[in-house]
């Protein structure tokens, strides 16, 4: 049986792992290579790196980090942040990433998803969506949540799937860093409107909330950052909680 994945997310800026609330007030949270290795040893099912600064210089450092990490860690690595072209994607994949996550660049140029899928295959394309509540629905934001678009999250997710995304990384901007729980309604709505896996992100604070993302939100994977970085919870605690709730996890 396919298991639910627990994925640590390392937000990066200038070669360090950082963490802030709603992408603001960034604080240093540690060395990416060390942290990734620890999470790998603790049973992380995948590891995601997101470059929150996304400058040219930051991207170069990211490549070096990925290169180092890929030599010692043998679970899938996803890298996102500031990837604007096929060439950017190629460099990240060549340095050792297995998947690339596109957010702002896909909003600005949806064709990039299609081109990426043709060159590298859908299996390595993750569409990352930063969703913000508006009225009865959600809108897509770009530039790390700083810029609002007029795209509806559900239709954008569907379009992303049609264009060739193989997975959706769904981040609730309203919940990001708040530990108030995942936005379950958002997860459910996106999940039942696409046929590709959805990764829940933003808002995890307790084991119960993580369980709810899977059992009530229908998430295929959960992405976690500060909760793990500050050792409030460990990967094995999360997995044994999920297992007790009847969710299949890799042991």
């Amino acid at each position: 049986m396919l298991t639910i994945r627990v994925i640590p997310c390392l937000d990066m800026a200038g070669g360090r792992v950082v963490k802030g609330i709603k992408f603001k007030d960034l604080k240093d949270a540690g060395c990416p290579v060390e942290m990734a290795r620890n999470y790998y040893q603790e049973g992380a099912d995948e590891i995601t790196f997101l470059d929150v600064r996304a400058s040219a210089e930051s991207r170069e450092i990211m490549l070096q980090v990925v290169e180092k990490v890929a030599r010692v860690i043998f679970v899938p690595l996803t890298v996102g942040g500031g990837l604007r072209s096929i060439e950017d994607m190629r460099r990240v994949l060549r340095s050792g990433a297995d998947k690339v996550a596109l957010s702002t660049s896909a909003v600005e140029d949806p064709e990039l998803l299609k081109k990426g899928a043709l060159v590298f295959g859908s299996q390595c394309l993750v569409l990352s969506i930063d969703a913000e509540r508006k009225g009865n629905g959600w809108i897509v934001t770009s530039h790390g949540g700083r810029k609002k678009t007029d795209l509806d999250v559900i239709s954008w997710a569907q379009q992303g799937e049609r264009m060739g995304a193989g997975e959706i990384l769904l981040n609730s901007l309203d919940r990001d860093g708040t530990r108030a729980g995942y936005d379950l309604e958002l997860l459910r709505e996106v999940g039942r409107n696409v046929n590709i896996p959805v990764i829940a992100s933003g808002g995890a604070g307790t084991l119960e909330q993580i369980g709810e993302a899977v059992l009530r939100g229908g998430a295929d994977a959960v992405l976690l950052a500060s909760l793990l970085h500050y050792r409030q919870l460990t990967i094995s605690q999360i997995k044994s909680y999920l297992r007790d709730k009847g969710v299949a996890v890799r042991c």
Binding site: Y40, A70, V72, F74, D98, G121, Q123, D220, C251
Partner: protein, 201 residues
């Protein structure tokens, strides 16, 4: 030396990294001229069946690989590499694979395709490669098409299940091993399997 076949469509580098980590002597094979010194081959794979099969043909690797397998020399096919051992795939009708296993690759039914994540492999009792792995016999899968064999005579099979389909995710016939999952991305269980294959075959 283990030759890892480069046909422009594989996840060649992650396989090489895993072998380097295991301190196994390996090299890249791009064409029939590069096989000297290779005792075992790995056919990695991520991508499209049609494009990959055509590329093998273009690089004149297809007939070479068929001969290698007919000679019962060790080869490991990973993911698309395994599917290329078949005659055909629903992913590219009309394109011929190596045809060393009789069967085809079929598209998974819904709801969610591709299968992405960790799944178990139920081992036949004759598979020493995976015996004793116990709970850790979870491996990382990433694929939309699964194996359907017409004939299983002389083939040892490990089974997995996804979206209600029970399919062969590991096949072993003589010195040919094929795995649908990615051992190079399956943590310590995957590395252990690679290491056993290197030492056993």
């Amino acid at each position: 030396m283990i030759g890892v076949i480069d046909y422009g469509a594989g996840n060649l580098h992650s396989v090489l990294r895993a072998l380097e980590y295991l301190q196994v002597h390996c090299g890249v094979v791009k064409g029939p001229g590069d096989f000297k010194g290779a005792e075992k081959l790995i056919l990695p794979g991520v991508g499209h069946f049609g494009a990959a099969a055509r590329e093998l043909c273009k690089r004149r690797l297809d007939s070479f690989l068929c001969q290698w397998i007919a000679d019962k020399r060790p080869i490991l096919g990973i993911c698309l590499g395994l599917q290329l051992f078949l005659y055909r795939s629903e992913e590219a009708t009309g394109v011929r694979g190596l045809g060393v296993l009789s069967g085809q690759a079929r598209l998974f039914p819904g709801p969610k395709v591709p299968q992405i994540g960790w799944n178990q492999v139920e081992m036949g009792k004759g598979l020493p490669l995976l015996r004793e792995q116990g709970c850790s016999s979870y491996f990382y899968f990433l694929h939309s098409y699964y194996l359907e064999l017409d004939c299983t005579d002389g083939i040892e099979i490990g089974w997995s299940e996804y979206n209600g389909v029970c399919y062969p995710s590991l096949v072993m016939k003589d010195k040919l091993l094929g795995v649908q999952f990615h051992p190079e991305k399956s943590g310590s269980a995957g590395l252990k399997l690679l290491e056993k294959w290197v030492n056993l075959c």
